[in-house]
């Protein structure tokens, strides 16, 4: 009974904290203007914002972990975590506590300083990106005119941390993972940049706020579906999730760059992975799903934040859904998909958008072009897949060796006595 009450109190505190932080964020960050000079007050304000943001992200990560485990469980006919807290909501908290309390081990062959710095290098970019991501029109730490550029410039930095982690671990699996990470992330950065560029062209701005406001009536997923698909796939690869989890492949290189990490440092990697997943979800929601706006007039800030978070979680849940469905690609297939499919497609998206804008064609031509390109692989896949399955089934049916049942010899008329049965 006491345990129950304790759980309820902790859970209540988390919910209250979440609400308080949201409110605090709304109130405080709007007031943070450009300071004339750096005073203690400004520094304190900055620290407050950072702490608030960090706590908020930590809570987002905890919810994401819970959401992923529950969603995967439901898709795999399981129930997922149920023990800690109501509906297992506190399971991620318990996991985090366990990780923090674990011993932090570094292999003897590792370069200690780089080994312990690497997790931070992966985590900090994912964290810093949030400084410029708006939750609603005025709910943003710093609304930059170059927000999209800032996002790309910062998020690409996490590659350094992964390579460093792989290299400094002094483990062959980690080295392989680090090299894979470098190849994969650099390749998939290009389609992301190109699709973000498309959005910037459509909105005629690189500010997140302007981009979202421009989608008030028609979100860009309708205008540029191909761009969204490319962004989503490249985003999956950027955060290393199935089917592109090649650099951390659990069953091949046993976690890649993370293989030697334990305890709190592993927890930072874990945190970074989910923060980055959430970044991709949030940016997809802002650039293609219309962020906090909807077609029926203005929303109050709180409702806008809720709408934005809803869209973000929708994208993130799609990412989890993919994870429950697909196997992992091989590294060469991953690279050829990136260079031979996604990069050309992303260039096609840019060119099509540019042509439409330059010649001032009607707006519907853009989704028409986009869908036409998108239809080719989809139709090929559907038809080819079915044909392949049928052909395969036919080949197997032709080759299968049929063994006919022989007639059974007649049994003796009188069955044996039952007491002999157990002898």
């Amino acid at each position: 009974m006491r345990a129950r009450a304790g759980e309820a109190v902790v859970f209540g505190m988390i919910v209250a904290g979440l609400l308080g932080i949201l409110g605090g964020l709304v109130l405080s960050v709007g007031a943070l203007g450009t300071p004339e000079r750096v005073t203690l007050e400004v520094l304190a304000q900055l620290a407050t914002v950072l702490i608030v943001l960090f706590t908020l992200l930590a809570i987002v990560v905890l919810t994401l972990v819970w959401l992923e485990r529950k969603q995967l469980a439901r898709m795999q006919s399981r129930v997922g975590p149920t023990r800690v807290g109501p509906f297992g909501l506190l399971q991620p908290v318990a996991d985090a506590l366990k990780l923090i309390m674990k011993e932090d081990v570094a292999p003897g062959t590792s370069s200690k300083l780089l080994f312990f710095v690497a997790p931070l290098l992966v985590f900090v970019p994912g964290f810093v990106v949030w400084l410029t991501i708006p939750f609603a029109r005025d709910v943003v730490v710093r609304s930059l005119d170059m927000g999209l550029f800032f996002f790309i410039a910062i998020s690409v930095l996490s590659i350094v941390g992964l390579v460093l982690a792989g290299w400094s671990s002094g483990s062959k699996y980690a080295v392989l993972g680090g090299i894979r990470a470098a190849a994969q992330l650099i390749s998939y950065e290009i389609p992301i940049i190109m699709t973000v560029l498309t959005v910037a062209m459509l909105a005629d701005s690189m500010s997140f706020v302007v981009v979202v406001e421009a989608q008030r009536t028609v979100p860009y997923i309708v205008l540029q579906p191909l761009g969204f698909v490319v962004f989503f796939l490249a985003g999956l690869a950027e955060v290393g999730r199935t089917p592109f989890d090649v650099y951390s492949a659990e069953s091949e290189i046993v976690g890649g760059p993370f293989v030697e990490y334990s305890g709190a440092h592993w927890a930072i990697f874990f945190l970074a992975e989910y923060v980055n997943t959430f970044v991709i979800g949030a940016v997809a929601a802002l650039l293609f799903l219309g962020g906090w706006s909807w077609p029926f007039g203005d929303l109050p800030a709180a409702a806008g934040v809720a709408l934005f978070l809803g869209k973000t979680y929708l994208v993130v849940m799609a990412i989890f859904w993919v994870r429950a469905t697909y196997p992992r690609l091989r590294i060469d297939q991953l690279m050829s998909l990136g260079w031979k499919v996604l990069i050309p497609l992303s260039f096609a998206v840019v060119v099509a958008t540019a042509v439409q804008l330059f010649y001032d064609w009607p707006r519907w031509t853009l989704p028409a072009m986009s869908l036409a390109v998108l239809a080719v692989p989809v139709v090929m896949q559907l038809r080819g897949g079915r044909r392949r399955a049928l052909a395969e089934a036919r080949r197997y049916a032709e080759r299968a060796v049929v063994v006919e049942a022989k007639p059974r010899p007649q049994r003796p008329q009188e069955p044996l006595e039952p007491q002999e049965a157990g002898a």
């Binding site: 069953s251 091949e252 469905t325 196997p327 992992r328 690609l329 060796v401 063994v403 049965a421």
Partner: protein, 370 residues
């Protein structure tokens, strides 16, 4: 080799196992890799060696069955059957028909359970995490059925020399039918999710190809051999127990790649369901143990018996010196013999393929190391 010398690269040794999630136990392979390519592979076995064959020499014939349970620990009943058939042939014992039906029905169910485990773990090897949940869910139903029949989930010791331990419970047939119905659905579910998944095809088609001639010369048996296009199945070519009275198909692949090895096993699941159904239909009441009283001491002699296990052709060679304990027991474990094909399959593959190839042979280390 010249280009490699120009670029001044060195090959790297990558030690995979014995603690590695994809080696299915304590198997160790030392890969020589050039970047992501596997140049050579050296398998190392013996981490699970328990001296089972030697232990057999110190147990009476009836007790040896328990040791056979522990060889291929995901297909226990099939192993029990292999040894019991050897001992029965040595002692010249006729097994009652009902006992044979029970044996075959349970062995086919065990094959089903084993293949379900394969389908799941193979998906895990390739990075798909859902099929194993489906596989385990269905396998659990079969395990529950086993528990109701034998009292154990793994180490059954149920098939005895001369028959089976006792008759199946009265509700066995309806329960088994219900289980089969569910399992068929579960197998179809895995089939729909995985078999023609584009990524799965990309990862398995044309990977780890082994042609029929090489497969035969390597001593490959079971589904791995049939995937290469050789229609060899002990149940068909050297039928035992009541297999002649069952109609079934032997699925045969053509390319001998990982996908074929996977698909042959998937089709075999359906065939096993079909066979168990026939067994349940044909089963008639009767005794389940031979009436011979003296079954402890076989005459002097030796015997070799082979059966179709889920992983291939298991052979049991027993030498009797006329005492109540076998003089020598030698097992030809299919997993061990199938490992011979590892090297020809793996050369030139990617590291990720190495995992896919090893998974597709479906080894069980309890049997490899004995």
């Amino acid at each position: 080799m010249t280009t490699e010398a120009q670029h001044d690269t060195v090959d790297m040794m990558l030690n995979m196992g014995p603690q590695h999630p994809a080696t299915h136990g304590v198997f160790r392979m030392v890969l020589t890799i050039d970047g992501e390519r596997v140049i050579d592979v050296t398998p190392h076995i013996g981490y699970l060696h328990r001296g089972s064959e030697k232990l057999c020499e110190h147990e009476s014939y009836g007790q040896v069955v328990t040791l056979f349970d522990r060889l291929d620990y995901v297909a226990n009943l099939n192993n029990e059957l292999a040894f019991c058939r050897a001992a029965e042939r040595l002692m010249d014992i006729e097994v009652p028909e009902r006992a044979q039906y029970i044996r075959v029905a349970l062995c086919e169910l065990n094959r089903l359970a084993s293949h379900l485990l394969f389908l799941g773990t193979y998906a895990i090897d390739l990075g798909a995490m859902t099929p194993i949940m489906y596989g385990f869910r269905e396998r659990e139903r079969i395990q529950n059925l086993f528990e109701s029949v034998t009292g154990a989930r793994m180490m059954h010791n149920y098939i005895r020399i001369g028959g089976v331990k006792e008759d199946v419970p009265p509700d066995f047939v309806p329960r088994a039918r219900a289980v089969l119905k569910d399992v068929r659905k579960g197998v179809d579910e895995i089939d729909r999710l995985l078999t023609f998944n584009e990524v799965f095809l990309a990862r398995t088609k044309g990977v780890g190809v082994i042609d029929a001639a090489t497969a035969v010369s390597c001593g490959l048996t079971g589904p791995s051999l049939r995937a290469s296009g050789v229609a060899y199945d002990v149940r068909k070519d050297d039928p035992y127990e009541i297999y002649p009275y069952l109609g079934f198909e032997v699925p045969v692949g053509h390319d001998g790649d990982c996908w074929d090895r996977y698909y042959v096993r998937l089709l075999e699941c359906h065939q096993s369901i079909h066979m168990v159904t026939q067994c349940l239909d044909q089963m008639e009441p009767g005794p389940t143990m031979t009436q011979r009283r003296r079954i402890a001491r076989p005459p002097k002699g030796e015997v070799y018996v082979h059966c179709e296990n889920p992983r291939g052709d298991i052979g049991v060679f027993v030498v009797s010196d006329g005492t109540d304990k076998p003089y020598r027991v030698k097992v030809r474990p299919p997993s061990f013999c199938n490992l011979v094909a590892l090297r020809p399959m793996m050369r030139g593959a990617y590291i990720a393929d190495a995992v896919a190839i090893l998974g597709s042979i479906d080894i069980v280390l309890g049997e490899v190391d004995r």
